[in-house]
């Protein structure tokens, strides 16, 4: 079965909100074998939404909508959908009860506008939303399905996980798509493509390869769309094995793997642990690590020494070294590693100090100059990075490249 995703709201078009809903939904639908053929965002305009639905239903039978279900006047999705399929509205007592309860529990007085949220298009199947006041809606018309959910990501996710996934599973719309993703770090997509060129040129029918670059990493995805009689899963895994042999030294993991989860596995196996000393990245490296469930088995914590004073007092960086070399120097990141190990009693530490920008650059050390270091008491590796003029990018690149440096140290040490 084919589906498309429609996100509604002017805030998406003018970039005040980044649409994370459609990526999340895409991932879920893909895992359910529902092919997503298109994603669109349009404004909260009645006719625009109707025209879009008409176009999307020419290409697929399911449209998932997020946004425009709130209690305020700019939220018009529900009325538009009712009109689109000529449904009258009815007052849903159960929704009213639930919303009343929701506010009672939170000690917030219920507003008149919330009563509006209880009117529903006739024939709707409601999808429970325990994270907010607007339930999701499942509407059918012939072989066409519209699913409408609130735009707040936590509410949308709750509805999907608690009601919608099961409804899709029960309706047996499982096409056969199988993806295998190889995660690599340390080289670009062109080098990878050249290494596996002949494999890519001789792919069996129905199998495709895609390169998905992100910050200092490339994911190589092998996808199979089922052909009649083919054993899709085995076919994809066979190609994957061939590719793995060629690009072995860049591989950090498969499918859900991340740099951090790969590091976690190595350290866990060895019974060692890690802490982090940050400056310009301001906690981002620690945040990256902590996004990985189970990291607490190998990760104890971090010190973000943003000021000179804290570099000295918390990480034992020498005042003279700071004065002579500046905070962004090989000497300082080495001392940060040692000081962090000393303060936290960890096996390893990673440290980062740099000029993230936009200010703070000098001719000698322009914005984007970052030193990273990692190691233990006996051995420290350092690397000087020359990054961009963009603060946000510099923070992200520094953290990822520090993890790549550390992972390489762990792997080569073995």
């Amino acid at each position: 079965m084919k589906a498309s995703i429609l996100t509604i709201g002017t805030e998406l078009l003018i970039g005040q909100v980044i649409d994370t809903n459609s990526a999340w939904l895409g991932e879920q639908l893909n895992a359910l074998g529902i092919e997503i053929i298109e994603k669109r965002s349009v404004a909260d305009k009645d006719q625009m939404i109707k025209d879009t639905l008409n176009q999307l239903f020419e290409k697929c039978n399911i449209v998932l909508i997020t946004g425009g279900l709130g209690p305020t006047n700019d939220d018009i999705t529900k009325k538009t959908l009712a009109a689109y399929w000529n449904r009258d509205m009815y007052f849903d007592e159960k929704t009213y009860e639930k919303i009343s309860q929701y506010f009672k529990q939170r000690n917030i007085p219920m507003q008149e506008a919330h009563k509006e949220q209880c009117y529903m298009p006739k024939g709707v199947t409601l999808l429970a939303n325990n994270m907010g006041t607007a339930p999701g809606m499942w509407l059918e018309d012939g072989d066409k399905i519209i699913v409408s959910m609130p735009g707040v990501p936590s509410e949308m996710k709750y509805i999907f996980e608690n009601d919608l996934r099961k409804k899709f599973e029960d309706s047996k719309i499982a096409a056969q798509i199988f993806h295998r993703t190889i995660h690599t770090a340390g080289t670009g997509e062109t080098v990878l493509a050249t290494l596996i060129q002949d494999i890519e040129e001789n792919l069996p029918k129905g199998i495709a390869i895609a390169y998905l670059p992100s910050v200092a990493q490339v994911r190589v995805r092998i996808s199979g769309i089922a052909q009649e009689g083919s054993n899709l899963r085995e076919e994809v895994l066979k190609i994957s094995t061939q590719i793995e042999e060629r690009i072995q030294k860049y591989i950090i993991g498969f499918d859900g793997a991340t740099l951090a989860s790969s590091i976690r596995e190595i350290l866990k196996e060895r019974g060692e642990n890690l802490t982090v000393a940050e400056s310009c990245t301001g906690g981002y490296l620690s945040h990256l690590l902590v996004q990985t469930p189970g990291i607490s088995q190998v990760y104890d914590g971090s010190i973000t020494a943003y000021s000179y004073a804290l570099k000295q007092s918390l990480l034992g960086v020498d005042g003279e070294t700071l004065k002579e070399n500046g905070a962004v120097s090989e000497e300082v990141v080495e001392q940060m590693v040692l000081g962090c190990i000393e303060a936290t009693k960890s096996t390893y530490a990673i440290s980062i100090s740099g000029i993230a920008g936009p200010g703070g650059g000098t001719p000698d050390k322009p914005v984007g100059t970052v030193w990273v270091a990692c190691g233990n008491k006996d051995k420290i590796r350092t690397k000087k990075l020359k990054l961009t003029k963009n603060r946000d990018m510099n923070i992200k690149y520094s953290a990822i490249l520090a993890l790549i440096l550390f992972r390489r140290l762990l792997v080569e040490e073995n």
Copy 2:
């Protein structure tokens, strides 16, 4: 002038990559007065791209495309665009020179696939990309414009900032859209809407209000689309002033403001500073603060004590207190504030300790239980949060709610 944004790549549809490009582009175009009427994502499929262009050009004259310009086989945008407007391809010597230079500087051998990147549709205006190998393309056909850029955000941004913005400005396509955004925290959109209901019901023609909820915050956006003879900017600001009077106590700032920038201004004015002690948020609160340029004037750093041992050794939390109350308790977050102030010599500290999930919950303290505290040596405020089952959400909510608690303390203290 009206425009739409088209992002190309299967990875966007199946959610392996979150499309941040279109939000960023939307913001830039909006600031230039170019109205974005739609955003779409489709797969790297020739016919799909052509059909989409046909549909978009029925509604607007400019289509901005990102993605599918890389050197690998799944990148087909360039060939598709050349075919769409019947352009032959030519080998662009300047691009070849630039790409050769790019690889020479990085000591990477140039691959055959990179030569492919030098073929361009005839009549193109190239847009310089110093962050990668594929230049941007500006193509015109009659009154229609296609702009095509790489999908890697840093490359797309470079092209926009260094060439494209100026090209849009020079072509004088400035419609009149003006937005004013009021940032609020501490209440929901329904309460806000009720407080300003009569203003919203009596808006002048061409002015609209939208509510943009995000994690524990709502932005109220007043937008004006120019009517003939109207003074749009003044009109929007007049309405904004009326609204501000009604919702004063929830306002944290305007337009680009954030919680962190608002805290920065208060502390800077008073000559005070802040540090942070984190547990379950793992550095995210520090990362949030450091995203704010100029924060170093009031923010010194943080300690992420993820393990019990570091809570004791770095933050001076009492072992008995940990044992009796657990790490997720009012007593521990209070001690974390005091210990952090002691270790860092700051005026204030904020602390967070909670069960982010998915594991670690108990009947007494289920996943989503988080304690936050903030204050100085003399006075500490604490708050118990009951959040969600989602790790990522819990981390983000905890950090934002801690900042709201701290900001309220600062404002009420004054």
